[in-house]
């Protein structure tokens, strides 16, 4: 796996985290910009169309799949475009545009049959040529932000006839489905005329797709209006369309649901849950998010040998953090349940490794977490020679060196980190460790983080792909100079296993390797993972019924719900 893959995926993962954390709040909306009116386009027919009104905190950054980075854009792509496979809420993949998929013995050649009768929203038929064009297009447009990385293993994509697509790989890979789910199929008759430069600037405001909904209106930071496609061979929505409205203030978003201005909200502060639960006609849904976010407490582990000096590494981390015993003591002194109770109001589960429980089979649930035990933590530090020689309540390095005062930073746009930092300060004081707390704006934090490593401890996070590959790469030695590795963790055994799992074709074997890798980083305590947060959404029960709430993951704005909800009579 080359570096570009991970670097670009980092950007996206990062963007997903930022949107989730409320980064959109920094974009001040123009004054008086609340989405207005029932249907912003006007000129509606006599019979009032029934559209689901969805409130969200963000807005797509662009409708061009090549340049979009925010998760809101991808929500719209999922509804308007089709791809070869779709990711279901139970974590499985199912065929979407493809009617059948066949793979050769050696795993190199994949042959897909395209479903007949699918047309573009402008009436043109969708053929295998569109698919082949799209895949090649993504591969050629290397300055596209996100999607080209999924074509990294494609040697060639061809369409021998109108209904057959043949993908030849450079080597067999275990996760073909997860490579294809985000590769949206684009109409060649629209995108075919664009060269690399114009493709990156293309706004795609008239978005022509083949999915269950078509775009009828869009204004950035205001609304996205979709209309259900009738006579679609794959889908038949029971509603006439959906309108996504942007509310940049989370309180306004919750209020809009309360007053019935919207029928569903995609995200909300956990603090609003009790209030909404008490509301009649409103139901709150809590579950695993589709794109799980991992919150991590990052230790600066860089030392003389691992410091990426050539890439600007300063590696000013506190020497005590390089000692596993200190990190072990910190783990034992951290009451994760308390953090979950205060920061997430209980809506989360205790974390162990960077691979969240939301990733299903990839998550190693056999790992036994370090027990919360302050006495044990103190004993560990005592035994390791970190004593409080000057009786000021703070331990010093063995032999009476520097005191154990760690800098703790977090992004100042995070709504959870300040409370978390407050709790860590409270908990770690009990084992004679002092923290210097400071929120930093995300740019400054990126600058001190990696590969500069001018920090001690950072509270931050990652967004996750459905496949664990990317998050596993973050902890490899190769990623230290690129800035993807936030800890500077380096372990030859781990690195070797990472290479092994990337090309392991047998699912169970790959799962075992991935689990083993998690155990290794957990034993080495490269990170402290406080929790895996749950996704919280809410909908009105008096407008539509049939929201899909019983799946392993919660995403009411997903196709799975929007296709089955029907108006309440």
């Amino acid at each position: 796996m080359n570096k570009r893959y991970t670097l670009l995926a980092l950007l996206v993962a990062f963007a997903l985290v930022l949107t989730a954390c409320g980064g959109q709040a920094t974009e001040a909306p123009p004054s008086g910009d609340q989405p207005a009116g029932e249907t912003p386009t006007g000129g509606e027919p006599a019979a009032e169309p029934v559209k689901a009104r969805i409130g969200w905190a963000g807005s797509p950054d662009t409708l061009n799949p090549g340049t979009a980075v925010l998760s809101e854009s991808y929500t719209i792509f999922e509804l308007v475009y089709d791809s070869m496979y779709q990711l279901n809420l139970d974590g499985s993949y199912s065929l979407e545009l493809a009617e059948s998929a066949e793979v050769s013995e050696d795993g190199i050649t994949w042959t897909f049959k395209i479903r007949p009768g699918v047309t573009w929203h402008d009436g043109q038929p969708l053929t295998a040529h569109d698919v082949a064009f799209s895949y090649n297009f993504y591969q050629q447009n290397t300055d596209f932000v996100y999607l080209p990385v999924y074509t990294d293993y494609f040697a060639s994509v061809e369409a021998p006839d109108d209904s057959t697509v043949v993908i030849t790989l450079t080597e067999a890979i275990p996760n073909m489905e997860s490579q294809l789910i985000f590769l949206y199929v684009l109409p060649e008759h629209i995108w075919g005329s664009l060269d690399t430069a114009s493709a990156a600037e293309f706004e795609n405001a008239e978005m022509v797709g083949s999915g269950p909904f078509k775009l009828v209106g869009y204004s950035q930071n205001e609304f996205v209006e979709l209309e259900a496609v009738r006579n679609h061979p794959l889908y038949n929505a029971k509603i006439d369309g959906a309108v996504f409205r942007t509310y940049t203030n989370p309180d306004a978003l919750v209020q809009a649901l309360r007053t019935g201005e919207v029928d569903m909200i995609t995200e909300m502060p956990n603090t609003a849950v009790p209030g909404l639960r008490a509301e009649s006609n409103v139901e709150v849904v809590v579950g695993a998010p589709v794109a799980p976010e991992v919150s991590d407490i990052i230790f600066n582990l860089t030392n003389e040998t691992t410091c990426p000096v050539a890439d600007g590494g300063e590696c000013t981390g506190h020497p005590a953090l390089r000692d596993r015993q200190v990190r072990l003591a910190l783990s034992h002194a951290t009451d994760k349940q308390k953090i979950i109770d205060v920061v997430l109001l209980g809506l989360g589960s205790k974390g162990t490794t960077l691979i969240p429980d939301g990733l299903g089979v990839w998550y190693n649930d056999a790992i036994v977490d370090y027990e919360f035990n302050v006495d044990l933590a103190n004993q560990i530090l005592e035994d390791a020679g970190y004593l409080d020689t000057d009786s000021d309540g703070i331990r010093e390095m063995p032999g009476g060196g520097d005191p154990l005062i760690f800098r703790l930073n977090w992004p100042n746009d995070s709504t959870t980190a300040p409370r978390e930092a407050e709790l860590l300060d409270e908990m770690w004081t009990l084992i004679g460790i002092d923290l210097e707390l400071q929120a930093l704006d995300p740019d400054t934090l990126t600058a001190v983080c990696c590969p500069v490593f001018d920090f001690d401890i950072i509270i931050w996070g990652w967004g996750s792909d459905p496949d664990p590959g990317f998050l596993l790469s973050v902890m490899t030695t190769d990623e230290i100079p690129t800035g993807n590795s936030e800890t500077g963790y380096s372990n030859a055994e781990y690195d070797a296993l990472y290479v092994a799992q990337a090309t392991e074709l047998d699912l169970q074997t790959r799962i075992d390797v991935v689990h083993q890798m998690q155990q290794i980083v957990f034993d080495d305590i490269a990170y402290l993972i406080p929790f895996y947060a749950q996704s919280v959404q809410a909908f009105r029960t008096d407008r539509f019924s049939g929201w899909v709430t019983d799946m392993a993951k919660v995403a009411l704005e997903d196709v799975s719900s929007l296709l089955v909800i029907e108006p309440v009579p």
Binding site: P250, A272, D341, A439, D441
Partner: protein, 310 residues
Amino acid sequence: MTDQPLLLSGAAFWKSFRRNRIALAGLIMLALALFAAVFAPVIAPYDPAASVEITIDSIYARPSAAHLLGTDDAGKDVLSNFIYGSRVSLTVGIFASFISIVIGGTLGIVAGYLGGRTERVIMRFTDIMLVIPDLPLTVVIVAITKPRLLNIILVIGLIGWTTTARLVRAQTLSIKERKFVLRARSIGAGHFHILRRHIFPLVLPLLVVNSVLIISLAILNESTLSFLGLSDPTVVSWGQMLNYAFERGAMSSRAWWVLVTPGFGIVWLVLGFTLLGHGLEQVLNPRTEWHHLTDHPLMVSLPAFPETHP
């Protein structure tokens, strides 16, 4: 015309002050706040640093007998946070304003008295500092230093002296042209003596009034920084309370008490200092109370005060 006292004596000052309702109101407001800040550990029903067990249903508890002003997003007592928060605002306000006044006063007097090249250099520097927007500069400096309370006091104090410098310079310019300064100089008084005995006493009332008014600005600056999440996270302050309320959905929970309480505190202090400042201005400079056409002997001998609104 006989010599009028140029400065009011202590007793005369208090007599005049007592009759000034605005000043008295401000003083009482501030006395209450100061009392709360000093005796916070005694008055506050809970310790803000104490750990609290919470569940999703126990946050933002409504005001009750146990929690007179309800609880916040972490289940902590709002009244206690409010009482402890006054310490930060008062400390930052008073100390930052002191720094501003010392710097602004010194530079203003020196510039006004010496004149010439010194004055030009000092005043151009003041102008430069004056046009830099305060808030972004404060945010940047706080970001590159550690957000300890001391640093925040220093940053706010080091940025807020510019208006004082300009006002004091103008006042000094007017005073140094007075006959008694000329007399003092002609009998051989040195610069330092003139500054100390003749100029400074006449600038002092201006400094006092100005420092009281600057405290309000410093309090607002500190609250702004905390609201942006950039202040010392380990100390409870009103801006920080507002930050948590805003970021963690207090409005959605209809927890008005989390928003109104710190907001009220900030208004209370700022209003208190402003009233006191304006009251002091009237007491120390009676001219502000009279119409300029009123003929009163005091007018002739009291120094002319420039407008002291920041």
